[in-house]
């Protein structure tokens, strides 16, 4: 508390404009809403950094035509791409642009350099998206992240709401779902407006129960329970995000998807109320940023499959994190060696529920 107060006194003491009369306690001075002429409203006190005084030609600094031509040639002409990729610094400087390390480390510039790599162009040409994304990770276009962070945060959410989840799936082992509980889970699934059907769920249940060796404590309809628990857990994500990582604005995967283009006019898949749609990713801001970068790559390359590949990977990661969490918390029991198949089965169910087509590419 003392640290906080100390810091607040520091901010107050260092502001330029003297605090107005009666403004005691304000950390950032008086807002114009209550004092329209407060602060450095005009003239020399106004903090402006004129481009015209930078000592550089303003026209060149603000002209987009030349840079647009450079970007276009690097993305479409193999000779230009090779020249740029082999020496981006000198390529930029030869075109009158800054080639400093700070520029080359910039996200957009790093993306342009990576997209000019022969290996990346080959991967795109051959629709080998796994290779493409591996390259992007190695090139630093994506932030390095530890998948266990997401898994542990999901586990914490489920753990802190475990009583409610247990009561939703049934109180005792081997007790079948009551008709009401069954209806509730099915209502969740039916209200989704997705393409996954009860038959899909039945198939999923068979897979989980059979070769997957999955049994769910206290729930006979295990597939419905896995999906239902995931849907319940999603409800708690908003509160958990607040407790785990404060976000600055509406970082929502659905919003990202809304703006995530419809490359080549393809329609956005139906995502509402599907159990795994990238929503858990909000618990790891680095994962959200990487997903957003995937969408930028899809926009830049005009390859919609890139976006779908990134979404599939996000869904798979969520499914794995949820299943591992459920297993750790003893809400499900998975036979030795059964987890990979369980993940595979639930992932494919999730694709279908989210309206994400299965890939034929790598």
């Amino acid at each position: 508390m003392e640290t906080d107060n100390k810091r607040r006194r520091f901010i107050q003491a260092t502001v330029v404009a003297p605090l107005a009369v009666g403004a005691a306690g304000r950390l950032h001075g008086a807002p114009a809403s209550v004092q329209p002429l407060s602060g450095a409203s005009a003239g020399a006190e106004r903090l402006v950094l004129p481009l015209a005084n930078s000592g550089l030609p303003v026209a060149a600094l603000t002209d987009l035509t030349k840079v647009s031509v450079l970007v276009e040639s690097v993305l479409t002409d193999s000779s230009a791409a090779n020249s740029f990729f082999s020496a981006p610094r000198s390529y930029f400087e030869a075109h009158g642009l800054d080639g400093s390390d700070s520029t080359l480390l910039d996200g957009s510039v790093a993306m342009l350099v990576a997209l000019s790599a022969p290996a990346v162009k080959d991967a795109l040409k051959n629709r080998n998206y796994t290779e493409f994304f591996d390259y992007m990770k190695a090139a630093g276009v994506f932030e390095p992240r530890d998948p266990s962070v997401l898994q542990s945060r999901i586990e914490r959410i489920i753990s802190s709401n475990i009583d409610e989840i247990r009561s939703a799936i049934g109180a005792q082992a081997e007790t079948p779902l009551t008709p009401d509980q069954q209806a509730e889970f099915m209502a969740i699934l039916k209200s989704s407006g997705t393409v996954a059907t009860e038959e899909d769920l039945a198939v999923l249940a068979q897979v989980l129960k059979g070769d997957g060796g999955v049994t769910i404590a206290a729930c006979s309809a295990m597939a419905a329970c896995v999906v239902g628990i995931a849907l319940l857990a999603v409800l708690y994500v908003s509160a958990a995000v607040a407790a785990t990582v404060a976000i600055l604005a509406a970082i929502t995967i659905s919003a990202a998807m809304m703006t995530a283009i419809t490359v080549s006019g393809s329609q956005q898949p139906q995502l509402r109320s599907a159990p795994f749609t990238g929503q858990f990713m909000k618990l790891d801001p680095a994962a959200v940023r990487n997903l957003q970068r995937s969408y930028r790559l899809a926009q830049t390359t005009q390859d919609g499959e890139l976006q779908l590949h990134a979404l599939r990977e996000a869904i798979r990661e969520e499914v794995e994190a949820v299943l591992v969490s459920l297993s750790n918390l003893k809400l499900i029991e998975v036979s030795p060696g059964g987890m990979p198949l369980a993940i595979e089965a639930v992932t494919h169910y999730a694709y279908k529920a989210a309206g994400v087509p299965t890939s034929n590419a790598h």
Binding site: R7, L27, L49, A249
Partner: protein, 343 residues
């Protein structure tokens, strides 16, 4: 093409009034029932019309405040006008009009009739003194029933997440959250007065280090009919964000004037937190310790004497790099836009 020609705001925010039904202790505008300053129906519609004429990419009009719903018919008319112009609309409210389900339904239906696309309800610990969670829930569910998507934003409460849990776990809310007709999110919170309680917030510094899309992406008409460059929490604390007084014909030129100021481009590319880090070097910690919000960093950057002096003395060092990064980002964005438009 100049960079200014490639940018065009996609969002127009109308701060209809500074007045509010609530008087929250840490309100960024110090809004309350007694604060004056509001736009007339005629001015709002004139500004929307001018923005629509001036900016080809304009797609969304946001009505906020203060409490936008205090404008009543003037707000409904302005939403209807925006809708008739093919613009999407969003209202930001504290939900005070949801005292009873019946009252909430009446207002929600009027909003729907006007064509409102989305309702955002802002709430939090301080709001609760004036607008209880029950009003928020009534307002949100009434909007969803009327077919308006609703987002409830709860200010970060610190360690204790009582309010967001009360909303999320309300039996009334469950079907709407499950069907995604209502979404709930938590946003980081910043203090404006030194008597604010401490709130433990786990901040991801990477989020603070990002560039600010508000600059160049949005324009704001304030209740005093000024044009502002951003709609951040500290916009009225930073005179430099004020682009000028609207006169009915100057919106485009006021918007374009930002591009003469390198600081605006820099904020767009790096954001104020990173700018302070870069300019202040080893002294950065004393300025950034405890900062929890990008708007807080922006206020500090604009108001702190040492930072201002350092910016004025050193900015030319950063111009070539920052402008190259801006040019490359814009060229990539323009390419994507043209390709999508062509497909």
């Amino acid at each position: 093409m100049p960079i200014s020609g490639a940018f065009s705001p996609h969002t127009l925010t109308i701060l209809c009034t500074y007045q509010c039904t609530a008087a929250c202790k840490q309100c960024c505008f110090e809004s309350s029932p007694s604060v004056k300053g509001r736009l007339s129906r005629e001015t709002i519609i004139a500004r929307i019309a001018e923005a629509k004429r001036s900016f080809l990419n304009l797609s969304v009009v946001v009505f906020s405040g203060g409490e936008a719903l205090m404008l009543k018919d003037a707000l409904f008319d302005s939403i209807a006008y925006s809708t008739s112009e093919g613009l999407m609309t969003r209202v930001v409210s504290n939900g005070y009009w949801g005292k009873t389900p019946k009252a909430a339904k009446s207002t929600a239906n009027k909003l729907k009739e006007a064509g409102l696309c989305e309702l955002n309800i802002s709430t939090g610990k301080d709001h609760q003194e004036w607008v209880p969670a029950s009003s928020v829930i009534n307002a949100a569910t009434a909007a969803a029933d009327a077919g308006i998507f609703c987002l409830i934003t709860v200010e970060n409460e610190g360690e204790n997440q009582d309010l967001i849990n009360e909303i999320l776990k309300s039996p009334l809310m469950a079907p709407y959250i499950e069907s995604r007709t209502i979404s709930v999110q938590s946003n980081s919170w910043m203090p404006f007065h030194d008597d604010a309680e401490e709130r433990q917030q786990a901040i991801d510094i990477s989020e603070l280090r990002k560039g600010c899309d508000q600059i160049f992406g949005t324009i704001v008409v304030t209740p005093h009919d000024n044009l502002s460059a951003c709609c951040g929490l500290t916009l009225e604390h930073i005179p430099e964000m004020r682009l000028g007084k609207n006169d009915g014909q100057n919106m485009e030129s006021l918007y374009a004037s930002q591009f003469d100021d390198f600081l605006k481009a820099w904020i767009h590319v790096d954001g104020p937190y990173s700018i302070i880090e870069r300019v202040m070097g080893e002294d950065k910690a004393q300025h950034l310790e405890g900062v929890v919000h990008i708007c807080e960093a922006c206020s500090i950057m604009h108001k702190n004497r040492e930072i201002r002096d350092a910016l004025r003395a050193r900015y030319h060092e950063f111009v070539p790099e920052v402008m190259t990064r801006l040019q490359v980002a814009m060229a990539l964005r323009e390419r994507s836009r043209h390709c999508v438009a062509a497909s």
